[in-house]
Amino acid sequence: MLVFAASDKGGTGRSVTSANLAYQRALTGDHVAYVDFDFGSPTAAAVFDVPGAMRGTEESGLHSYLEGAVTEPARIDVWRQTEHPQLRARPNQAGRLVLLPGDAGGGEFATGEDALERCVDLLLRLHGEFDLIVVDLSAGRSYAVDMVLAATAHPRMRYVPFRWLVFHRWTRQHVIAAAGLVHKDHGIIRGGVERGHDEEALRGAVRFVRAAVPDPDSPLWSQGTPAQAAWMQSCDEALRRLAAEHRIGDSVVLGVVPLEPILQWREQLITEEDVLSTQIANKETLEALEEIARRLTDDDCWGRP
């Protein structure tokens, strides 16, 4: 299964959340690859805490691979090469967790027919090897988005299942932007149809993840005044209405990630240790991530809403 992580704007926590989903799936025994197609700003090395392993991949990352400079992109075995003390002890029965980094300092680039073929080669090879492949895409309607839309419409990829996760923050601006990224004229659906995707099938394969959502019922806000609580409640309802009007309402939401300082500031994987032992992360956040990770392959959560 391929899962594409997209967002219209930066700052949605797309990379860190999708990396956490990859991590959660690996914990359950799946073999997981995390492919960093965030060509503008590759951040995966920081999220998985593998700065040392990144040295030496400057010229063999995904840019170099797609441009044909190397025949195989670098791979980093996260369990083995991470500097994160809690990750290094690979839990018993965990699956593989492999990062395919972008080149350090690589920017966006135009893709041609050759790059597309190589992209298809790569995704097919990963598909033969891993249960789940999470592809982190640059924000907006980027080259990366176009390339994977074309790749998944390629005849060689006809039997490879894929799904899209669109991340957005829970604000007016972000709701409108995320809906635009998917549904507008220059959006993912239209772009996909132009490249040969079936519109209904593609729609059924797109779900949204609301990130950094303040929960009015959370103890974090329980100290607030009644006026504050009422105001939050009404804003939340207004946003729900707005989302529904823009066709990204609850029926197409795969999950909601609570506002979590550790995701915002540390931009790293949330481990059980963070919740149970040092208690710097909220239990609700970890549970939300576990649930979204589970739903990635739960067919009941996908298809036509």
């Binding site: 959660q24 799936r25 359950t28 025994g29 799946d30 073999h31 010229e59 025949t71 195989e72 075995d77 029965q93 699956g95 073929e117 080669d121 097919l124 090879r125 598909h127 033969g128 090897e129 891993f130 249960d131 060689r156 990829m157 006809r158 039997y159 490879v160 990770a293 589970r294 392959t297 739960d298 067919d299 009941d300």
Partner: protein, 335 residues
Amino acid sequence: MAPEGTPPPVVLACGEVRTCLLPALQALDSRSAAQLLGLRADERVLLSERPNVYGRSPDTLTGVDCPLPSANGARIRAVGTVAARASLTEGRVLQSSAHFRVPAAGPDHRRPWGHYLVRPGTVEPFGRLPHEAVAQGLLNGGRHGELDVGLIADGLLTRLLRHPLLDQRPPLKSRPTRLRWVALPAERDEGPSIERFTLAEDELRTVRLRVPPGTPSGEVAGLCDDLALHDWLLTTVVRILDGIRLGAAEPPARPRPRPGEDRPAVVTALRPAVDHLLHLWMPRARVAHELAPLWEALEDRPGFTRQWRTLVQRIRDQLALHAIPPLHREAEMTP
């Protein structure tokens, strides 16, 4: 041009083999295999059905002119051709294999291409070849720009994997492996021997061989293809068994079984091994007689076939266990 005397003896052969599951739902029959492996219009695909179904492409040649890697940093430019071929075993396991041999010495200037083309699979050094240092350099893997026989094997594999015959629906998840080998001449009167067989990284194996002088490098490559195939089979089946959780309920993150597919997770995991892999074990099926003793050494230690038999038995036991109605089976397992 002056007539050449006796060519200097070959002192080094080297190659790399990529082994992977054919990404197709059904194994290919012989005719389809011939289509897949027909890399050249002017030469036929070798097909054989005894003792197992096997197809091998004609050799393709890649011209090279670049430095050879060496363990001591010596810079040795070399020119010639690398031979590469692909093979398919039982329509299921695809291998691409590239190799070349190097004579002890060569001229210190580049000759016209015609010279190299009539010596397919030979790469000639400029001057004398420090073969021990180069052998180690090749096993360690060269730097960017140095001769990398793995690239040639991988390029051939990529080309084959794009073939329209393949529906890209592999019946199980598996990892490709790479086996890199070098063969140096054995001491006088000594038979062939394996000096070292290492599992370097997760997917890379390196093999260092000694073979009697004059052993054709194609035969050594054939032996290494066979080693790589069986090593891949062991690796793949071990991983399948690693992935099953005994006595555990369906892991929560796994997709729920569809109606009619409610067999136990263990059976679902082991079934592809039975369908596609267990019948492939056949060491030495196509290894030259003179090199066959090398297999005996591996059978002794680490004991390839011994491990394989244990794995096969474990799979059969698991499947037999799951043929017992769950009521009785679970009753036994609860402490």
